[in-house]
Every structure is written in C-alpha cells, then in structure tokens.
C-alpha cells in the first residue's frame, strides 16, 4: 500500500520593480526599444564604470518588506555573486546575501482550513541580467543589455506551504500586496513576477525534510499548479520505487506537462559572494523608514471597507473590485467622473469579469480609459442607448477603448424614441403575427413577449424595451 506523503514547498519569487530607471544607472527600464538602446557603460560592464544605487529601489523593497511584516536591516549591504555568463556583462551579479534589506516576516493566506501564516525568510534587492538572442542559423549568439540592471527584489519564503492551493494563495497575496504598493505590476506572463518552487516530499508525520528540487520556468498560476502536482508525483514515484530524489534544478515544460533536469547540486556554482566594494552599506535611518511607513498607500482591506462605507457597495462587490488593484483603479477613476458607483461596479464585475474570464486574460492587460466607461454609463442613463446595445458597446470599449459617443453615432445605435415610428412598426408586426394575437387573446401573456422581441429585432435593438412593451400591450388591448 502506498504511504501517505506530505508536500513541503518554499518559494523564491522575483519581482521586477516599477522604477523608471535601472538599479545602478540612469538608463530607462521601459520595454521595447532597439537592442542595447537603453544601455550605458555601467549596465554593459565597461571597464572603469561604477554602480550608483537608485534610492527608489530601496524604497520599494522597504515598502514590500514592511507589508510582509519583515524586520529591516537598517544597515544593509550589496554583495557580488560571481559567475560567468554572457547575459551578465560584469560576470557578477550585484545582489544581497549577507545582509539583505528585509528579513523574518510573514504573510497570512486564507485556505480551506482557515487562515495560515507563511514565513518570509528575506527580501533582497538585486539586478536583472540581459538577454541572449540565438541567431536563427545557430551560427552565433547576440546579447541585448536593455534588461541588464533592471531592479528586482527576491522574496524568499520559508518552506511553509503544503499544497498548490497554498502556493497560489500565497502568490495571489504577494501579487496583490505589491500591486497595491505600486512597487510592480507583477505580471507572470511578462516575467515581471517569476516564481521558482522548491519542493520536497516526506512521509506524513516525518520530522526530517526530504531532498528538494528547484523548479524554474513557471509563468502562470495554472502552470504552477500543474508543476507542483507533477513534481510531487514524480518524487513520490521515485521514493515508492525505492529510489532517492536528487537535489537539482529542473525546468518545467508546461506544454508537455513534464519537468527536465537542468543541473544537479554537483555542478552547482560556487558564487564566491563577497561585499561589493563599489557600494557602501545602505543606511536606512529611522526617519526614512518612518517616511516609507507613512507613504504606504491604501491597501486592499482598507479599500474594501471604504467602498462599502463611502460608495455603499455590497460587501460582495467591494471584495471583487478590490481583488485587483487595476480593477479598483478603474472603478475609482470612473466613479470620479460619472458618479453612480454601483452602476460602475456592475459593469466591471459582470461584463468586465466575464470578458476577462472568456479570453483568459490578465487583469493587468486592461487598458481602456475610465472616461469611455463613464461616457457609456451616461449614454445609458440618458436613454440614448438601451442596455443591450450598451453591452455591445462596452465590449468595444473593453477591447479597443472606443469613444462610446462616436461609436454609437457612427453605427447608428441610438434608441429610437419616435413613438409614431415605433407604433407603425408594431402595427406591422401585429399584422404579420395573427397567431400570436390569438394566443394573447386566449390569455397567453407570453405571446406579447414574442411580439416585443420581434419588434426589437425589427428595430435592430435600438428601441427601449420598456417602451416597446408598453406600446405592444396598448395596441393589443385595442384589438
């Protein structure tokens, strides 16, 4: 009989910070641009160039560290991690090993079994590497240093997670926290948030940890879920067949649903860490720390409460809207323009969420303007368009950020409010559907609905359904 196993998981999460410039030079961090367009002697490792720390990186790292309840090393240092690879122009990465900026914190997650604390071992700052581009013909490799020196924080958890659900809850919590702080957009697909999973299994009740593996290349929550299940099963199978798990780094191939060994502990690098002599210790004085604490933006719980109190939204709405900083932002901006918070909430929660889910889209990808949503709400309010048309227009706004006024105008979607014209159409519909009229007279109220539907169809949706309903009933009663 198979034994019971417990899965033990710890995470190393890299988050790309939302600074405008790189961590050690003034080059922009923005995406795009020709290869090596955003580089200088510092981020290309030219001889004689020296790093200068971007203060904003420290502030974001502190904000995140404090939000995950960490202690702060008020005198932290940068260390050099030495290894040769062409995407790393200096052949060392400036990171933090001995005195990371934040340590010993936790985040609280909600699981099926109630709330649980996941320990944070440390949060440290480091620089990203460049990108290698392998020539199609395989003749040569090229290197683009645009990403070299982009600031990252690495958040290292304790091995406190026991299931994929807990891991995802932890990542969701981290992501939400960091997005609320404005420290990063945390997009997994784009790589601005990357999680490496350290996983081991042990017999239920065992005290000793099993041998762990590290899994890389996970770029969606779904992939993470599958990778955890796959790796757990792989390790159990090895143990069950009397084998031993090898400590190694593995790469998850989500396409095939398997992982491939990258390197074992034996070929692990000796990184020869030592304090970077080019960067003096970072002194974080009490007043600076206090300023960071004071500058903390409104976090999710506060926002949720405020939405209920200030906007009178139901708890359910407030929960959903605040579960993504991006959605909350759109909600607030739209409400600021057109008021009607419940109406705004409805559009976002019902139609917005539906479209996101349908297309399996990342919320961070939302980029329509609140002005257009507000304009749409006004059009409905003023009865310029009816709800059915409005839904279609919303979809256009959602995908292409169209101006609803122009769109409605150009596509002739305005409600026809000319009662005489409408009455003529209804007369025609009634004349064409004698059976329905007979049914109505026999007491089948549904028949009226059919006639309303036919009228709406004839009007191509551009009539106000209430008005049509009223007119149909009036005409039927006259017969």
């Amino acid at each position: 009989m198979r034994k019971e196993y417990e899965t033990v998981i710890g995470l190393e999460v890299h988050v790309e910070l939302a600074t405008k410039t790189k961590i050690f030079c003034a080059c922009p961090t923005k995406f795009g641009g020709a290869p090596n367009a955003h580089t200088c002697p510092v981020c290309t490792g030219m001889p004689g160039a020296l790093p200068v720390l971007n203060k904003q990186v420290v502030e974001y790292a502190l904000a995140v560290g404090l939000a995950v309840n960490c202690q702060v090393n008020q005198c932290c240092k940068f260390d050099r991690k030495n290894y040769f690879y062409p995407d790393n122009p200096q052949n060392y990465q400036i990171s933090q090993l001995y005195l990371p900026i934040c340590y010993d914190g936790f985040v609280e997650i909600n699981t099926e079994g109630g709330s649980k604390k996941i320990g944070i071992h440390e949060v440290h700052m480091e620089e990203d590497a460049g990108k290698l581009i392998h020539d199609e013909q395989g003749e040569r490799s090229l290197v683009d240093f645009n990403r070299s020196g982009v600031p990252l924080i690495e958040i290292v958890s304790e091995p406190d997670m026991r299931s994929a659900q807990e891991v995802i809850a932890y990542l969701e919590k981290l992501r939400m926290t960091i997005q609320y702080l404005g420290a990063s957009d945390c997009r997994l697909q784009e790589g601005s948030m990357r999680a490496d999973i350290n996983l081991s299994v042990r017999e239920a009740g065992a005290k000793e940890m099993g041998t762990r593996t590290e899994m890389k290349n996970l770029n969606s929550f779904k992939a993470i879920g599958r990778a955890i299940e796959g790796e757990r099963q792989r390790q159990i199978d090895i143990l069950e067949s009397g084998g031993k798990v090898v400590q190694e780094t593995r790469r998850w191939d989500d396409h095939q649903g398997i992982s491939i060994a990258m390197r074992s502990k034996e070929d692990a690098h000796d990184y020869r860490y030592f304090p970077d002599p080019d960067l003096p210790p970072v002194e974080i004085r009490d007043d600076w720390l206090e300023r960071i604490r004071q500058a903390r933006p409104e976090m999710r719980e506060e926002k949720r409460r405020r939405y209920q109190e200030e906007f009178g939204l139901p708890q359910y709405d407030a929960e959903i809207l605040t579960s993504w900083k991006k959605i909350a932002d759109v909600f607030e901006e739209t409400t600021a323009i057109c008021g009607r918070p419940k109406e705004v909430s409805n559009w976002l929660m019902v139609e917005g969420m539906r479209l996101l889910k349908e297309k399996d889209m990342d919320v961070e990808g939302l980029d329509f303007s609140p002005e257009n949503l507000a304009a749409l709400i006004r059009l409905v309010e003023k009865n310029v368009i009816n709800r059915t048309v409005a839904k279609a227009v919303f979809e256009e706004i959602f995908w292409s950020d169209v101006n609803p006024e122009t769109y409605v105008e150009e596509h002739g979607l305005k409600v026809v409010n000319d009662i005489d014209a409408l009455a003529r159409v209804i007369e025609k519909i009634i004349a064409e559907n004698p059976q329905s009229v007979r049914d109505f007279k026999k007491g089948k109220k549904k028949a009226a609905g059919f006639l309303v539907g036919q009228t709406m169809r004839a009007m191509e949706g551009k009539a106000e359904p209430g008005l049509v309903n009223q007119l149909v009933k009036e005409q039927l009663s006259l017969l």
């Binding site: 030219m46 001889p47 004689g48 160039a49 030495n82 000796d270």
Partner: protein
C-alpha cells in the same frame, strides 16, 4: 633653464604671462618623448596629433581668459588604466589590446577642465599588478636614473616619464603603493590622497576598496595644484566623499614648527636597506631642525599588512577582472569550440602570469569554505590596522616612513620571487588598507646614485599636513632629475621609430595590434 626643466606650476605661470606658448611646451615634450622612448619606454600610446590640436584650443582659451588655473596649457600624461574617450586604454594587458573607451574618466575630465594637454598614456604593470612595471604586456619601462633598473610600479611609466621630462606631470593610481613606491625609485614626488577624494569613475579597477588616483610630479607644489584640480565629489562614484577642504595649495607654507612627526620603529628594523634608513632619518633631522617635533613610536601589526592586503586586493581583483571575457570588447581567442572554451582561451591568452596568479589567489580566498578563513580574517586584520593608525594619529600629525625597503632593483630581479616582491610593499599598503593619504618626496640617493624617497603618511583628510611637511622639506634642497633628462634634451633629434608603424599616423600605440 629650458622649458622641460620647469615644474608644472612654473610652466603654467610662463604660459599665462605669454613667455611660453602651449604649443612650444607640447612640442618640447613631444621632442623629448621622441628622444627618450627607445631608452625608457614610459609611454604605451602617444597622441601627438591630439596633443597639438588640443594645444591650439587651450592656447585660445587662455588668450580669451577662459582658462586661468595654474595648470592651463601644461602637458601631462595619464596612466593607461584611466579611460580616455577615443584613445586606446589597455591597462597594459593583451586582453584590452584594442579597447577604446566611449567615455573619459572623471579625474581626467577635471584635468581637461583645468586646461591640461594630454600627451598620451603611460606604461604600467598589467592591471596595476606588480611593483616594477615589468608585467606590462608592452615591454618594461626602464628607470631613467639607470636603465638597468626598474622604475618601480605599478605607475612606473608615469613616474619615469616625469623624471625624464617627457611630460610635466602625470596621473597614476595607487592600490598598494603604486604611486608612492615608483615615485621613490624615480626621484619624483607622488601623492596618494585619502580614499574617496578623487573619483574612481573611469579608473579600470584593480582593488576597488584600495584604488585611488593621484598626481606624480616634480615637487610638492605641483602635486598640491594637481590634486586640487582632480579632487571632487562625484555622484557617479558611490565611494566618493564630499569634502570642503580641498584647497590643497593653501597648505604650501614653509612652516613645520610644532608639527608632530612620528617615526614608526617597526618600519626601520630588519629588511630595510641601511642607506635608505639613514637617508630618511636624515630627512627627519631636516624637519626637526625646522621646528618639527620628531619622535619614534611603535605602530604594531606591521607584518600583517602584506597578507591582509594581498587577500583583499586579490579577492576584489578576481571579481573586477571577470568582465574581461572576450564577449563585449578586448581580446577574443581566434579559435574556440564553445562559450566556455572562448572564455577559457581568451582569458588564458589575454592575461599575463602575475594577473592570473592574483585572479586565482582571489578566487581561492573567496571560495566557499575558505571565505571566513581568508577574506573575513583579512577584513578583521584591516580593522585592527586601522585602529593602530588611529591611535598613532592621536599623538602625531604625520608619520614619516620609507616608501620601499630598498632602492630600485635591477630589471628581472623582482619577478623571480613574487613573495619577496609582495613583501616590498610593506611600507605602503597600510595607507591603502586604512584609506590614508601618503606623499612621497625625494630625499636623496644611494651610493650608486639611485633615488630614495621618503613617505609621509597622514590621517584621513589630513593631506594638508603632508603638503606642509613635504613642502618645508623640499625647500631645504632643490629638485634634481636624472642626468639623462638633460642629456636627451641636448642630444640631436632621434625620430621615434619604435614598434609604431607609419600607418597609425601620429598616434603611436604599442598596444592596438
């Protein structure tokens, strides 16, 4: 007195008053370079065309009153580890044989703003690793006082060039004595300022926590004026220090009454050439006669300096030099199989033996399992040495010491025994470990006529005390360069026909090929 015999500041004055034009000064230097190079090999790159063009430009600015400083129009040379935009910068290594920087080092920019005319780049030990300028990939520099001897190192090219009047002053860099020791061997004045005083931006790093740029010149006045020009807080160098007191020329006063000078007994014991000892103690007497209070004391921990230094410097070097990999710039092996063989062959072929030795030593002391035993222990030793100096500076304003245990050794003598060569740094490295300023001032010669320099060490930011002591001392004697300087100047022109080919036009490069 000929132009070449002038000090930098004297020449600057004559240029300002119109007695000498910038072009005349530059041309005189270039002529001397043409005559001296085959013997001395102090330069690796001479930018004749650039210097003449620049001379014209600087002269115009002087005429218009835009350049008024003491160094305006004075020709200078730069150690080849200082980046110069558009001008070959090799660190005298094969691995950077073709490296032309896209930017100029901050200290050099300051010199340019002061109106300096850069003649070219001077020879050095490869990546500043060495004490003789013999580890250069472009041939050793010879000591103008005696061509069978080394000029010292690693700034041997800068010191020899100044000594033989190829330039009026030069910049060097000092990681463990690389300005002060060759200045002593070449009979010139060299100044390593407090760590953080001169920006390291654009100085190709050897040991980042120890490296400091400083002037090499004919006297203390020149050194003070040059340091004043290059000292500045630089936001591009995080180890740069904002100082208010960098009007160094203010300290050029001939007054040492009451100045407390300490002579560490531990520096004058075994291993010190008696002629060097006597000459330096003689210099101490001169200062005593001028009213300084000179006392002996025990510094302690002296023997731990060399091991601590070589652990820290090598550790930093092993990491600093890892960027030279054949990927982005510099030498790449012509044949390799894959990425790792490219790394391995490029670095094996590109670095010389002394550099490799220090990279390996550094990688070893940082490797897991040895880090605490070596690197951490060396850092602790450094802290203890700092404490010993802090204590000394409670009693003394200045410490007077030799710059080297001996005068310049013969060519080839030092490299045979690297440990012995490392031990030769014993009097200079503590200043680097603690970040202290150190000034070498010529104070005599040995029986064979080789120069001896004394070293003045001050507490951090106390350069002015060193300048005062050095200035007062040199007032007691007059500067004397090597006989060769004058002989060459008076000899008939000897157009340079070294390794440079005519195809390279008027930039002579010994690297670059």
């Amino acid at each position: 007195m000929s132009i070449l015999e002038l000090t930098a500041v004297e020449l600057g004055k004559r240029i300002k008053t119109g007695q000498v034009t910038v072009e005349e000064a530059v041309q005189a230097s270039l002529d001397q370079i043409k005559k001296a190079e085959q013997k001395v090999n102090a330069f690796v790159t001479v930018d004749e065309e650039g210097a003449l063009r620049r001379a014209e430009e600087v002269q115009k600015k002087i005429n218009r009153g835009e350049l008024r400083g003491p160094l305006a129009g004075v020709p200078a040379a730069l150690k080849d580890n200082l980046c110069t935009k558009g001008l070959l910068t090799t660190c005298c290594s094969k691995i950077l044989y073709n490296f032309v920087p896209s930017y100029t080092a901050e200290a050099v920019l300051h010199l340019e703003r002061a109106g300096a005319v850069i003649l070219g780049k001077t020879n050095m030990d490869e990546f500043a690793m060495g004490s003789t300028t013999e580890t250069s990939a472009y041939g050793e520099t010879r000591n103008p006082w005696n061509l069978d001897h080394v000029p010292g190192g690693s700034s041997g090219g800068s010191c020899a060039a100044v000594a033989v009047n190829e330039c009026f002053y030069a910049l060097g860099s000092d990681t463990g004595g690389s300005i002060r020791q060759p200045s002593s061997f070449c009979g010139v004045t060299g100044f390593k300022p407090t760590y953080g005083t001169v920006s390291r931006y654009g100085l190709i790093a050897y040991g980042s926590s120890l490296d400091q740029i400083g002037p090499v010149a004919k006297d203390v006045t020149d050194c003070a004026a040059i340091l004043e020009a290059i000292a500045s807080y630089d936001p591009k160098d995080s180890t740069s220090i904002r100082r208010e007191d960098n009007r160094f020329t203010e300290a050029l006063v001939d007054e040492v009454r009451g100045l407390r000078i300490g002579i560490p007994r531990d520096y004058f014991g075994e291993g010190l050439n008696p002629q060097v000892r006597d000459t330096i103690l003689g210099a101490a007497d001169v200062l005593r006669q001028k009213g300084a209070i000179v006392e002996e004391f025990d510094l302690s921990l002296v023997e731990y300096g060399v091991p601590a230094y070589y652990v820290i410097a090598s550790a930093e070097a092993s990491s600093n030099l890892s960027r030279f990999d054949g990927v982005k710039y510099g030498y790449r092996s012509p044949s390799y199989k894959d990425l790792y063989s490219m790394y391995k062959k490029s670095r094996s072929e590109g670095f010389g033996p002394e550099v490799k030795r220090r990279i390996m030593l550094g990688a070893f002391v940082l490797s897991s399992g040895y880090y605490d035993a070596y690197y951490v222990k060396a850092q602790k030793t450094k802290a203890l040495i700092k404490r010993a100096f802090d204590q000394a500076f409670q009693s003394f304003d200045v410490i007077l010491a030799p710059a080297s245990p001996d005068t310049a050794p013969r060519l080839g003598q030092s490299l045979r025994d690297p440990i012995q060569m490392y031990l030769g740094d014993i009097y200079t490295i503590s200043a680097n470990l603690v970040g202290l300023p150190g000034l070498t001032v010529p104070c005599g010669t040995d029986s064979s006529g080789l120069p001896i320099g004394m070293q003045l060490i001050g507490d951090c930011f106390q350069e002015k005390k060193l300048i005062r002591a050095g200035f007062a001392f040199e007032r007691s004697r007059c500067y004397q360069g090597p006989a060769m300087a004058k002989e060459l100047e008076q000899s008939t022109p000897n157009p340079y026909v070294g390794e440079a080919s005519s195809a390279q036009g008027s930039i002579w490069e010994k690297g670059g090929k």
